[in-house]
C-alpha cells in the first residue's frame, strides 16, 4: 500500500505588507566588538607605543575597508542602473579612500614626517564629496521636490555645526591658519553628509528601504560625531591613539557595512 511519507508542505503565506526589521543583535555585536577592542587598546600604558600605533592603524584601515567591500557588492548588484550602480560605487570609493588615507598617514608617521597637513588629508577629505554624490544622487532621484521646511533644516544643520566649531577653534587658536581651515573642511564635509543622510532616511522612511537608510544614517551620524569630537580634541591637543573617539569611527563604518548588507537584502 502506498503511504505518503513526506509531510505535505504548508503553503507559504504572502505577507500583506513587506516588513524588514533591524537586527539589534548585530548592533550589539558591533558595539561589543569595538568596546572590547578599545579595552584592549587601554592595556597599552604608553600612548606612543609603536605596537599600539600599528594596531590602531590596522583597525582604522580595516573598518572602512569592510564597509567599502560591502559597498562594492551592492554597486555590482545594480551595475547597469543609473542611480544605484553609480551612487553605491561612489560611496564605497569614498570609504576606500578613508582606508587608504589611514595607511598614508601611518607611512608619514613611520618616516618621521608630519602626517598632517599632508596628502593623507586630501585623501580623507575625498570621502565627503564621494559620499555627498551618493546621497545627492539617491535623494534627487527619489525625492526631486523637497519642502521648504525640510530644505531649511538640511541647510541650517551644517551651518550651525560649522559655526560652533569655527567659533571654538578660532577662540582657542586665535589664528586662521592651514590647521584651522583643514579642521573646518572636515567639519563642513561631515556636517553636510550628516544632513544628507538624515534627509535620505526621511525620504525612504515609510518603505522597507527606509530601514537600510536609517541604519546608514546612524552609521554616518556615528562617524560625524567622531569627526567633530576629534576636531575639538585636536584643538585642545587631547587626542591619543587609544582615545574613545576611535570607537565611534569603528562602530560607524561597521554600521554602514550592515546598512549596505540590508540594502542588498531588501532590494
Amino acid at each position: 500500500m502506498f503511504r505518503l511519507n513526506k509531510r505535505v508542505k504548508e503553503p507559504d503565506e504572502v505577507p500583506q505588507k513587506l516588513e524588514e526589521k533591524i537586527n539589534y543583535k548585530v548592533f550589539g555585536l558591533i558595539f561589543a566588538a569595538v568596546i572590547a577592542f578599545q579595552m584592549y587598546l587601554y592595556t597599552f600604558k604608553n600612548p606612543d607605543d609603536p605596537q599600539l600605533s600599528l594596531i590602531a592603524t590596522l583597525a582604522d584601515f580595516i573598518t572602512p575597508l569592510v564597509a567599502a567591500i560591502a559597498g562594492f557588492f551592492v554597486s555590482k548588484r545594480y551595475w547597469n542602473s543609473e542611480v544605484f550602480g553609480k551612487s553605491y560605487l561612489a560611496l564605497s570609493l569614498g570609504m576606500m579612500m578613508n582606508a587608504f588615507a589611514e595607511m598614508i598617514y601611518y607611512a608619514y608617521e613611520q618616516q618621521g614626517q608630519t602626517p598632517s597637513p599632508s596628502i593623507a588629508d586630501w585623501v580623507w577629505l575625498s570621502f565627503y564629496p564621494l559620499t555627498f554624490y551618493h546621497l545627492a544622487k539617491n535623494i534627487s532621484f527619489f525625492k526631486p521636490k523637497i519642502s521648504i521646511g525640510v530644505k531649511s533644516l538640511v541647510i541650517l544643520l551644517p551651518i550651525l555645526i560649522t559655526a560652533v566649531y569655527a567659533f571654538l577653534e578660532y577662540g582657542q587658536e586665535q589664528a586662521a591658519d592651514t590647521t584651522f581651515f583643514l579642521g573646518l573642511a572636515y567639519i563642513v564635509g561631515s556636517a553636510v553628509i550628516l544632513s544628507g543622510a538624515i534627509l535620505g532616511a526621511l525620504v525612504f522612511r515609510q518603505g522597507v528601504l527606509g530601514i537600510a537608510w536609517l541604519v546608514l544614517a546612524l552609521g554616518i551620524v556615528l562617524t560625524t560625531i567622531g569627526d567633530n569630537w576629534y576636531s575639538y580634541l585636536d584643538v585642545y591637543n587631547q587626542y591619543t591613539l587609544n582615545h574613545p573617539v576611535n570607537l565611534l569611527w569603528y562602530a560607524g563604518y561597521l554600521v554602514i557595512a550592515y546598512a549596505l548588507y540590508k540594502h542588498k537584502k531588501i532590494i
Binding site: 545594480y78 551595475w79 532621484f141 525612504f204
Partner: protein, 203 residues
C-alpha cells in the same frame, strides 16, 4: 484603462529596468505577483498597483521614481489651465507610434473624425470614407495603442449598446529641430482626468 495610460505603459517597462536595474525590477515583479497576482506588464497598465508596490519598497521615494520615469517618457508643460497642458513626448518609441499613426492616411482620417466628438466605429468609418474591412483593423490598432479611447455609448436601431470612441489627443504638434523630431500632444480633458499615471505623477 485610460488611453493615455496605455500609451505610457508601452515605455515604462524599459525605463524602470534602466533606472532601477534588473535585480530591482525582478524584486518588484516578484512582489507584484505575490501581492496582486499580476506581472509587471499588467501592473504598469494598472499603475495604482505598481505604485503600491513601489511605496512598499521606497516609501515616499516612490513618488520620485514615478516622476523620473514619466519625465523620461514625456515632459508636461506648466500651464495655469491643467486641462490645456501640452505634453512633449521624449520617448522615441512613443514618438514613432504617433508619427506612424499620423503617417497612415486612413489612421489620420480616423483620428480627425473623432477629435472633437466621440463616435461609434461604423460612423467613424463612414465619416472618414474608409472601407469596412481595413477600417475595422485600423481602428482596432488605434484602440490597442491607446490613440483612441472609449467614451460613452450609443444605442443602435435594434437596441444594442455600442461603444463610442474618441481621440486621446485634442491637438498634436510636430516640430523638427536639426535632426530631432519633437512631437507635442495636448490630451483631452477626460483622458488626462482618467489617467491614473497622470493623476499620480503630474497633476
Amino acid at each position: 484603462m485610460s488611453g493615455l495610460d496605455t500609451l505610457i505603459a508601452r515605455s515604462l517597462d524599459s525605463t524602470i529596468r534602466e533606472n532601477l536595474g534588473e535585480q530591482t525590477y525582478q524584486k518588484l515583479e516578484r512582489r507584484l505577483f505575490e501581492r496582486h497576482g499580476i506581472g509587471f506588464t499588467q501592473a504598469v497598465e494598472d499603475f495604482r498597483k505598481l505604485d503600491s508596490v513601489l511605496r512598499e519598497f521606497f516609501g515616499n521615494g516612490a513618488e520620485g521614481v514615478e516622476r523620473q520615469i514619466i519625465d523620461k517618457i514625456m515632459i508636461l508643460e506648466q500651464s495655469k489651465r491643467q486641462e490645456k497642458r501640452w505634453i512633449t513626448i521624449e520617448d522615441q518609441s512613443l514618438t514613432k507610434l504617433i508619427l506612424e499613426s499620423l503617417g497612415d492616411e486612413d489612421k489620420k482620417n480616423i483620428l480627425n473624425a473623432v477629435i472633437d466628438e466621440s463616435r461609434i466605429i461604423s460612423d467613424i468609418l463612414e465619416t472618414s470614407r474608409i472601407p469596412q474591412t481595413s477600417g475595422y483593423r485600423k481602428v482596432n490598432t488605434l484602440i490597442q495603442s491607446g490613440m483612441l479611447i472609449p467614451e460613452g455609448f450609443a444605442t443602435t436601431h435594434d437596441g444594442k449598446r455600442v461603444t463610442k470612441y474618441r481621440s486621446v489627443f485634442e491637438n498634436i504638434s510636430i516640430e523638427i529641430e536639426k535632426n530631432k523630431v519633437i512631437v507635442k500632444v495636448q490630451p483631452t480633458k477626460e483622458s488626462l482626468k482618467n489617467s491614473h499615471i497622470m493623476q499620480l505623477v503630474c497633476l
